[in-house]
């Protein structure tokens, strides 16, 4: 058995709920987020944004702005090169428009000045000569022949001939004979669905402090989910060597995927380089909505056939996603995830990405999956209604299991789908009575999970405490989980360990905090770094005892002779070995570097009860229960937190949240008043049931839990609402006007 393979074991600390190490800082206001730092001589930056959805930039005159007292630097796309790499060029173009402004809010210039007031005044003095072009913000419109072309010549070769130039990408997954499968069905339902783009809605606006010195060294303090990736992008765009740019991740005020991509950080660095002074750039909420984040919008057709006893015979999804004004591969995730919960003989998912005059899509918790799974789970629910079948039984009957060839290719190893479905079936929620205008809905959810590049250093201090240095910003309590796993492996108390998130000059490369990867991959690397340190500590004890190092083993936080033949010595604790480390060979550290595989896919099931007010069309969530497989819940409180937070984000997506564009191509609701995320009074308690079906790819059986929770709510709520009102709802969000209309049409 490989060292990192799952080993069944009893846990002493993993699975407990200690206080998080960053708790006191965060409840006292002491934690330092992106906008909370200053630097001597610091300038303030502001960004000028396009008021047009689509316009050619004929010229930009910055001379009057530059002449304004207090203004120290102005940059436009002319201050950047033109990267050869298409991805990097897109990233840069998104940060600063080059030839065309591609969406309302697209950055066209930026100013650094001695005060925010001076920077704002300077923006008004910048003259941009625009040639306004026809725009398109609706993806179905953008696919039509003759639609305005957002960016020419961007389509990949795999796009079928004859489609609009806005279609950049096509994908296809699946297996089996669809035609034969549909022929076996007793009933086939085919439906079309649409979902609006949403925003991650992190409460902390993007913020950074950039400082470039005359000798080309630079520091960047930034709220990010991935300081190393930001370094890669910023150094490439600025033409710097990676070693000369140190990126430090601040505490992060929410990300959910939205802080995996640079938006204005290269601009802040360019301003600092030009001005020769530190530059702070903090976006406003309006800018956050208009120029960062959003998810794809989607338009989907689903066709599923079922026998009268509830067996799915064939299933097809045609998915059209728009990732804004740039190429976007998120539709691949949607197409791969669509039918992952089902064991199917005939299945096909097809996807197309379409460019529109909207900001560049960024990841949002299980990117792409909530949409396709919403559409699929809606049709499955409608088939259950058609045959009068129990929707949980039907899902159990068709559920993927160990050995199932998944709809996207791989064959599943040990997975927790059936266990979560059984848990939902056995839960009192599923049998509770419903009142008038109320409905119950359920949905399965899935996410791939990810491992990736990971690097951890663990130092044993001479006083018997331990420092863990990891490279992934903590967005949900991961420092607590990492400390718990180190404590478990070393056999010392949790509070003897301090885990910190390193800057890019202090540790090897770590992939972004995404893919629900941190507790899995950083945890795995931490356990192995601890084992590396244990090996060294055993060797030190062997040296002290004068025995072979293979004759020493580690038990409950101490080196002990391995068996009677090794000699008789009292155990040497970690603290005792550490105290004399200077005499036995110097400092003791453990390291581990890995590109981790084996993340282990994640399934969840959500159950919800809702009530629709027939007069206003408003939906109230009455009861909500989340069932999810965590593999092993390292800190159960924060596992529950991920499940609850994901569920509520999904509830917002289902009921309220949407990017609304006017006919002028401008975003109509770039603020929290009009883009309404769920508030405390909208919600009940969110009950959670954690399943623990060990992931074979992790020493403790851990699976990531961060993303799956946002996948099921869209269909769970839609199914509940559709059953409550007696009309199949096919567009998200199901805002009150849409429900009123549906009720009126039903009569």
């Amino acid at each position: 058995m490989a060292l990192d393979a799952y080993q069944k074991r009893e846990f002493k600390q993993v699975g407990t709920r200690p206080n998080r190490p960053d708790g006191v800082d965060k409840v006292t206001g002491r934690a330092m987020y992106g906008a909370d730092v200053t630097a001597p001589g610091m300038l303030h930056a502001k960004v000028l944004r396009s008021p047009h959805a689509h316009a050619r930039i004929r010229s930009i005159d910055t001379s009057a702005a530059e002449a304004l007292p207090g203004v120290k630097a102005v940059v436009t796309s002319a201050d950047f090169g033109v990267p050869e790499d298409a991805f990097l060029l897109d990233v840069q173009d998104h940060c600063m428009a080059r030839e065309k402004a591609l969406y309302d809010g697209h950055a066209v210039a930026a100013v650094a000045a001695t005060s925010i007031a001076a920077a704002k005044a300077a923006l008004k003095l910048i003259k941009v000569d625009y040639e306004v072009l026809p725009h398109v913000t609706d993806l179905d419109e953008a696919m039509k022949p003759g639609a305005p072309v957002v960016q020419a010549g961007r389509a990949f070769e795999n796009v079928p001939a004859g489609m609009s130039e806005n279609v950049t990408h096509h994908c296809e997954f699946g297996h089996g004979d669809l035609e034969a499968g549909f022929a076996k069905a007793d009933h086939v339902i085919e439906r079309s669905f649409k979902t609006a783009a949403t925003h991650q809605g992190y409460i902390e606006p993007n913020a950074c402090l950039a400082s470039v010195t005359a000798d080309g060294k630079a520091d960047l303090w930034v709220c990010t989910q991935g300081q190393f990736f930001y370094r890669t992008l910023c150094s490439a765009i600025l033409g710097m060597e990676a070693s000369q740019l140190r990126v430090t991740a601040s505490e992060i005020g929410g990300g959910f995927g939205g802080k995996t991509m640079v938006y204005m950080e290269p601009v802040a660095l360019a301003l600092s380089r030009k001005a020769g002074r530190p530059v702070k750039l903090v976006l406003t909420r309006d800018e956050v909505f208009r120029a960062t984040g959003p998810t794809v919008s989607s338009s989907m057709d689903i066709k599923i056939g079922m026998t009268k006893d509830g067996r799915i015979t064939a299933a097809q999804a045609r998915l059209r996603y728009s990732g804004g004004a740039f190429h976007c591969g998120t539709v691949d995730f949607g197409a791969q995830a669509a039918f992952a919960a089902y064991d199917l003989d005939a299945v096909r998912s097809l996807g197309w990405n379409v460019m529109t005059n909207r900001p560049k899509e960024s990841a949002y918790r299980a990117p792409g999956a909530p949409l396709s799974i919403y559409a699929v789970e809606s049709v499955v629910d409608e088939l259950c209604q058609h045959f009068g079948l129990d929707p949980l039984e039907v899902r159990l009957k068709n559920a993927a299991d160990k050995g199932t060839k998944s709809s996207y290719g791989p064959t599943f190893d040990q997975i927790g789908l059936k266990a979560t479905l059984e848990a939902a079936k056995a839960h009192p929620h599923y049998a509770a009575p419903l009142g008038p205008n109320q409905g119950r809905g359920l949905s399965c959810g899935f996410w791939f999970n990810f491992g990736g590049n990971t690097c951890v250093s663990l130092s044993v201090n001479t006083d018997g405490t331990v420092g863990v240095t990891e490279g992934n910003p903590d967005i949900g309590g991961s420092r607590a989980s990492i400390s718990l796993m180190a404590a478990e492996e070393l056999g010392i108390p949790y509070d003897k360990i301090r885990t910190i998130v390193a800057d890019t000059s202090s540790l090897g490369y770590n992939d972004v905090t995404d893919g629900s990867r941190v507790t899995f991959a950083v945890g795995l690397a931490t356990i192995k770094a601890a084992r590396d340190a244990i090996k060294k500590m055993c060797s030190r004890a062997a040296k002290i005892w004068g025995i072979d190092e293979d004759a020493v083993e580690w038990v409950d936080g101490a080196a002990v002779p391995a068996g009677p033949n090794a000699g008789k010595f009292p155990p040497m604790t970690l603290a005792e070995i550490a105290a004399v480390s200077a005499e036995t060979g110097g400092p003791i550290c453990g390291h581990h570097e890995v590109n981790a595989d084996g993340a282990g896919v994640s399934f969840g099931v959500h159950l919800c009860d809702i009530e629709v007010d027939p007069e206003t069309g408003a939906t109230k969530v009455l009861r909500y229960t989340v069932f999810q497989d965590a593999g092993k819940a390292v800190h159960p409180s924060y596992v529950e937190g991920q499940m609850q937070g994901g569920a509520v984000q999904g509830i917002g997506w289902a009921l309220n949240e949407e990017y609304i564009y006017g006919a002028d191509g401008k975003l109509q609701n770039p603020g929290f008043l009009d883009y309404r995320i769920p508030v405390a009074s909208d919600l009940p308690m969110i009950d959670t049931v954690i399943l623990e079906i060990p992931n074979p790819g992790h020493p403790y059986g851990v699976r990531g839990v961060g993303e799956t929770g946002i996948v099921p709510p869209l269909a769970a709520i839609a199914n509940a609402v559709s059953r409550a009102v007696g009309v199949r709802m096919t567009e998200l969000p199901m805002s009150p006007p849409k429900l009123q209309k549906a009720l009126a049409e039903k009569g």
Partner: protein
């Protein structure tokens, strides 16, 4: 722009500052007084991350002018703990995992404290409506509501 001199009390301490007439109390706290515990999440009074109390009244400090602090008593998150002793709300938030990223936490703690001073035994519904002006995107509010209930019970001696 002409500046205004303001004398006020923050967390019990006398404070003097100057500000411009259009400067918000939030900007004064964060940029002039280094009290960065109050956060700017929106600048339009929609998110509650900048919550403080002015003469005991809960406000969004992004909607109050710095000049309005003259002769007022202002309380911020930095004044909630008594030295190294955390307020029961602060302790309950840590012990009951009521925060994830923590950006909304200062505002929610200030708001919850203001509620419990008026109503030491709020129902769940009263709590949810009182905190409806404080957005949290991480937790789904469940653990926040429970933590405030725990702290309220402790503060009542229940």
């Amino acid at each position: 722009m002409k500046t205004i001199q303001v004398s006020t009390t923050i967390n019990g301490d006398p404070v003097e500052f100057i500000c411009t007439p259009d400067e918000t109390l939030l900007d004064v706290l964060r940029n002039r007084l280094s009290l960065t515990g109050a956060k700017e999440g929106c600048g339009t009074g929609d998110c509650g991350a900048c919550s403080v109390t002015v003469n005991g009244r809960l406000v969004c400090s992004c909607l109050v002018l710095g000049a309005e602090a003259q002769d007022a008593e202002i309380s911020t998150i930095e004044g909630m703990a008594d030295g190294d002793t955390l307020h029961p709300l602060q302790r309950a938030f840590i012990e009951h995992a009521a925060l994830q990223c923590g950006i909304c936490t200062p505002g929610i703690l200030v708001a919850a404290k203001a509620l419990l001073e008026k109503n030491p035994d709020p129902t769940e519904e009263e709590l949810r409506y009182w905190l409806a002006g404080n957005l949290c995107r991480c937790t789904g509010y469940d653990k926040i509501i429970r933590a405030v209930q725990v702290a309220a019970a402790e503060m009542r001696g229940a």
